[in-house]
Symmetry: C2
Subunit: 268 residues, 2 copies
């Protein structure tokens, strides 16, 4: 039974998905959320997709037993590896990922049907955004580029300055030269680099955050299902499979506000 | 070059697509529209899909030469047969159909993941809604039913009364018994039967109009592309390949307001 007052479950391999939570809080300030960071097994990117699929099913199972009213896989690799299986296994739970909302926004935005996508090596090599874009418009030309160093910069908190600009320029100039008019940030870490990326891409390119688009879709879904929470005073719980102190430190960066408590979880 | 002041092109095999136009006018009262009804070759339903694909490409070509800023295939058979080819052939034009917006709304709405779809024999046997629903959630159970007699009732203007209720009941009871909580009206004629269908399905079932959802998507797209028309006094043009008098008479029923002029068009 899905109840209005129950929390939304949001999870990621680590703290990156907190950029999605941030957008959900902005769009839906009344909603309670359980955020689950699988930091003990982070990152998912280099792992076998079958293994990640198993992690996704474990975590959705855990969240469903916490009574969440919907689940957001706030992780690109997790979405690519486990969304379909999770939807099939947990039939009574609405479950969405971050890929389709980002792809749909780019489809709606592009005028010249030339769309760029940046993400980790895992996300880019899975071609998930490419496939999702073609489902909306079969003639969209996709220019995908893995930009793995961005993650390290963000996790160091180095989101501005000459060094990140230089790295960003070398990643992004080929996409700009290809004439894209829309660029999908296909990694939950990248919204923190929005100013640098936007500066390089310029006014002619719309920079699309999958985090923000996913929050829009969460709102649409809760509205349509008549599951919006009416009361204020939402409750946020943060769960982590790894070191809570590390989560606290990094989490603040991604969420944009203080996190006061992290609960350590052992799955099974 | 896509310009704000240019019209939206909307087409259908006949007058059914006027229910989509009606929703577009409601959602976007400033937009000018060219409506094209291919009444000389109506209905598309019983035709070979390859033939319909060719008709779709001809009409999109015609509309693009009229300078439309986007095209809406306001026809379920036309969408199933020609959307992908039209997107591929007319790369500089945003083109959408009616199937994905309806499917997405149902995906967002259903709680028990049991979705019903009604449409013509052609649309139902193409499984287009089924496929589109599974792209959003792989575990949605789809209960599809062809309800061809609805078209005749609507075209006779017989949208209420004991007879249509009896026919509707015999079509819809099995879907109700299957426990669906969302029902897609997968034919442009059916929004006119909304009251009858809603009465039979009851409060527990959300009745989703693909026409309305398509208009929402048109709005999203024009907003995202910064192509919304700012001025008032929109211009509506109605073009028909068949008898303009017949179009005038039936069109009024579907559009919900008077049509004063229909231009006869001969393709090529």
């Amino acid at each position: 039974m899905l109840l209005k007052d129950n929390p939304i479950g949001v999870f990621d391999s680590g703290v990156g998905g907190l950029t999605v939570l941030r957008e959900i809080i902005d769009a839906l300030p009344n909603e309670s959320v359980i955020y689950f960071g699988d930091t003990a097994r982070c990152p998912y990117g280099p792992r076998d997709l079958k293994e990640v699929e198993r992690f996704v099913l474990e975590i959705v199972d855990f969240l469903s037993r916490q009574g969440v009213k919907m689940v957001v896989i706030a992780c690109n690799t997790g979405t690519a590896a486990g969304l379909v299986s999770a939807q099939k296994e947990f039939k009574n739970l609405p479950i969405i990922g971050v890929i389709k909302p980002g792809a749909q926004a780019a489809f709606e935005t592009t005028k010249n049907k030339k769309v760029g996508v940046i993400g980790t090596v895992g996300t880019i090599s899975s071609s998930s955004y490419h496939k999702a874009l073609l489902e909306f418009d079969a003639s969209i030309e996709v220019f995908a580029k893995a930009t793995p160093e961005f993650v390290d910069f963000v996790e160091r908190g180095e989101v501005e300055g000459a060094k990140i600009e230089e790295v960003a320029r070398s990643y992004l100039e080929p996409l700009k030269a290809a004439g894209i008019d829309s660029l999908i940030l296909g990694c939950t870490h990248y919204p923190l680099l929005y100013p640098v990326i936007k500066k390089i891409m310029g006014d002619g390119v719309e920079v699309i955050s999958s985090a923000k688009e996913t929050a829009r879709e969460v709102k649409n879904i809760l509205e349509r299902k008549a599951l919006l929470r009416n009361s204020s005073n939402p409750v946020y719980r943060f769960l982590s499979t790894g070191d809570p102190q590390e989560f606290l430190r990094l989490g603040r960066l991604f969420l944009g506000k203080e996190i006061t408590q992290v609960e350590k979880v052992i799955l099974k």
